[in-house]
């Protein structure tokens, strides 16, 4: 199942009401990046090339600190790469844009805002709140926070805070959702629930998802493609296709086989 060549599939994205595909197409071409550390450049990403079709769900799997999150920041437009090109729908990424929303491991909700006001952040920042109030209500209801509009972040549990962060992202109708270990700090039960919910939202909305994780099972359970990264500086080691229908069973033999393969690629075959 390791496909070295990345083939392009026909555009299977769900169409948005406007007619354009709901998901964005992403092209990462020969991207290398590094950070300045003690006057030397610490290489983080090495010659990464990857393509995502509109509506794809791709997981980036690798050990902690290997540089997956850096790639996400580059795609978000928060940093510029030292080498290589990143394009969304054929347009160069030069700055952050609300169509590419990133969700971090920490919910990073603004503690001085209520849940509702946090979710409304993007609309408010772009001056669209006047017409978007119903949209905020709708998205909060979608993530199950109907009764918590007026709660402050410190009153929320970890899972609810992460739901609020998800609502804050979804309000902007992102075409590309960037998830940086969004479930990494949740307890294992909440984690399983949220995995299902994010997958369901992705299926409903049809946006493209790029999700960083170091959890092999999570990657295989949620994504259509799992890209395995090497240790720092990160290179793409393998691109695993997960051709299984949703909702997936965690004990599916194919999933277990892929799990063994992915762990092997990460150098952890003995832990099987």
């Amino acid at each position: 199942m390791v496909s070295a060549a990345l083939e392009f599939e026909p555009d299977a994205a769900i169409a948005a009401p406007g007619g354009a595909p709901a998901g964005a197409r992403l092209d990462v071409q020969g991207v290398s990046h590094g950070y300045v550390l003690n006057k030397a450049i610490l290489p983080v990403l090495h010659d990464i090339t990857l393509h995502a079709n509109p509506g794809d769900f791709i997981a980036l799997l690798g050990a902690s600190g290997c540089g997956k999150s850096t790639l996400l920041r580059l795609v978000a437009g928060l940093d510029r790469p030292r080498r290589g090109r990143l394009q969304v729908d054929g347009v160069e990424i030069t700055r952050p844009d609300p169509s590419r929303v990133i969700m971090f491991q920490d919910p990073t909700l603004f503690p001085w805002r209520t849940v509702w006001n946090n979710a409304a952040l993007g609309l408010e920042a772009r001056g669209e709140l006047k017409h978007g109030r119903a949209r905020v209500d709708e998205v909060l209801s979608l993530v199950g926070l109907d009764n918590f509009h007026h709660a402050y972040p410190h009153q929320l549990s970890g899972g609810m805070a992460q739901r609020a962060a998800l609502a804050r992202a979804l309000v902007n109708d992102p075409r590309l959702l960037l998830l940086d270990e969004p479930l990494g700090k949740l307890d294992s039960l909440t984690r399983l629930t949220m995995q299902g919910e994010i997958t369901r939202l992705w299926q409903q909305r049809g946006f493209t998802v790029l999700m960083v994780t170091h959890d092999v099972e999570e990657a295989l359970h949620m994504a259509q493609r799992v890209i395995v990264f090497s240790e720092r500086p990160a290179r793409i080691r393998a691109d695993l296709q997960v051709d299984l229908p949703y909702p997936r069973r965690r004990d599916d033999p194919e999933l277990l086989r892929l799990r063994r393969e992915a762990l092997g690629l990460l150098g952890l075959e003995s832990s099987w």
Partner: protein
């Protein structure tokens, strides 16, 4: 609503009110009322040795307080909030009645302490009944002067703190000035300020403003610098402008620090206010203190100090109220 503060909304969808015992007035409150009646009796029945006036007024006031406390104790059986308030302060009220009696005995009744340093309660009271107009005028002038300096100084401090935190170019110019001039106590400028400024009032406004400018600037600056970059990242990906980042991210996130700065500024500006009024300004509570000392009117000084303490304490309380309102989102501060 206070019953649900701290309850994690994740654990319950139903809001429930915790059962709380209805407060009853403590017997100590009734005792405090009796203690004040005892103090009143002591004041009125024991003949004064010192030549003092207002003995009757003092006795009446003490009796009035005693009556009020007994009334509170009685009504407290019906009104729980009154019972809670009265019960909380009951011990203090007893001690105050004892203290007033002791003070009265060693001064007016026995003349055991040297005059004029140790004024009797009657003398203290007399200052308010005879000199209230002047005191009120002084209080008003002090507050007005202080408000002008404090508002200007802390507003400038807030602006320069935000600028320092957000812009390296402004920081280049402001930072050295802040480092050199800020730590210098504002009182050191007094001789120069009274010479440079056209009036002693404008000089005082400058000094008071300077005194609160420094802490407000430094704390606002540190607050803005401490804002997590993740907040900026989130706001930027959602399409926030630079203006939005300053007004809706940096400033709200820095507010807890800003209030520490405003609090410290308030403290140092009081010091400058009093010193400026003692040295140059011809009105105000600081001036009154100096003036009363000139003719050894110690009772007037105590009375003035008491008003000063009330003024400063009230300002601090108001600042804290404002903080509690604006920072209601902070953990542990939620109260509504």
């Amino acid at each position: 609503m206070s019953a649900i503060a701290g309850v994690n909304p994740a654990t319950t969808h139903e809001l429930f009110v915790l059962d709380e015992d209805v407060p009853r007035p403590t017997p100590l409150l009734g005792f405090a009322g009796l203690a004040w009646f005892a103090a009143a009796t002591l004041v009125l029945a024991w003949p004064d040795v010192q030549e003092v006036e207002r003995t009757e007024l003092l006795g009446t006031l003490a009796a009035g307080i005693g009556g009020l406390l007994l009334l509170t104790w009685t009504v407290g059986w019906i009104v729980p909030s009154l019972a809670r308030l009265g019960s909380h302060w009951a011990a203090w009220l007893v001690v105050l009645a004892v203290w007033l009696s002791a003070w009265e005995v060693v001064t007016a009744k026995l003349d055991a302490l040297p005059l004029p340093f140790f004024a009797s309660p009657q003398a203290f009271l007399e200052v308010y009944t005879d000199d209230y107009a002047r005191l009120f005028d002084c209080l008003w002038r002090s507050m007005f002067l202080h408000a002008k300096g404090y508002v200007i100084g802390s507003a400038l401090g807030f602006v320069s703190g935000v600028a320092l935190g957000m812009s390296t170019r402004i920081g280049y110019w402001v930072h050295p000035v802040l480092r050199l001039i800020g730590p210098l106590p504002a009182t050191a400028w007094i001789p120069l300020a009274f010479f440079i400024f056209p009036s002693s009032a404008s000089a005082s406004v400058f000094l008071i403003g300077l005194a609160c400018w420094f802490p407000t600037t430094v704390l606002t600056w540190s607050g803005v610098s401490a804002v997590s970059t993740a907040y900026y990242d989130v706001a930027r990906t959602l399409g926030a402008s630079q203006r939005f980042l300053v007004l809706k991210v940096a400033i709200p996130a820095a507010l807890p620090h800003v209030f520490v700065g405003l609090f410290m500024g308030l403290g140092s500006s009081f010091a400058v206010l009093v010193v400026a009024e003692m040295l140059g300004v011809k009105a105000g509570l600081g001036w009154y203190l100096q003036w009363a000392q000139g003719w050894a009117a110690y009772a007037n000084m105590y009375a003035d100090l008491f008003i000063m303490a009330l003024m400063c304490s009230t300002m601090i309380t108001l600042l804290f109220r404002l903080r509690d309102r604006l920072l209601a989102w902070q953990k542990g501060l939620v109260q509504w």
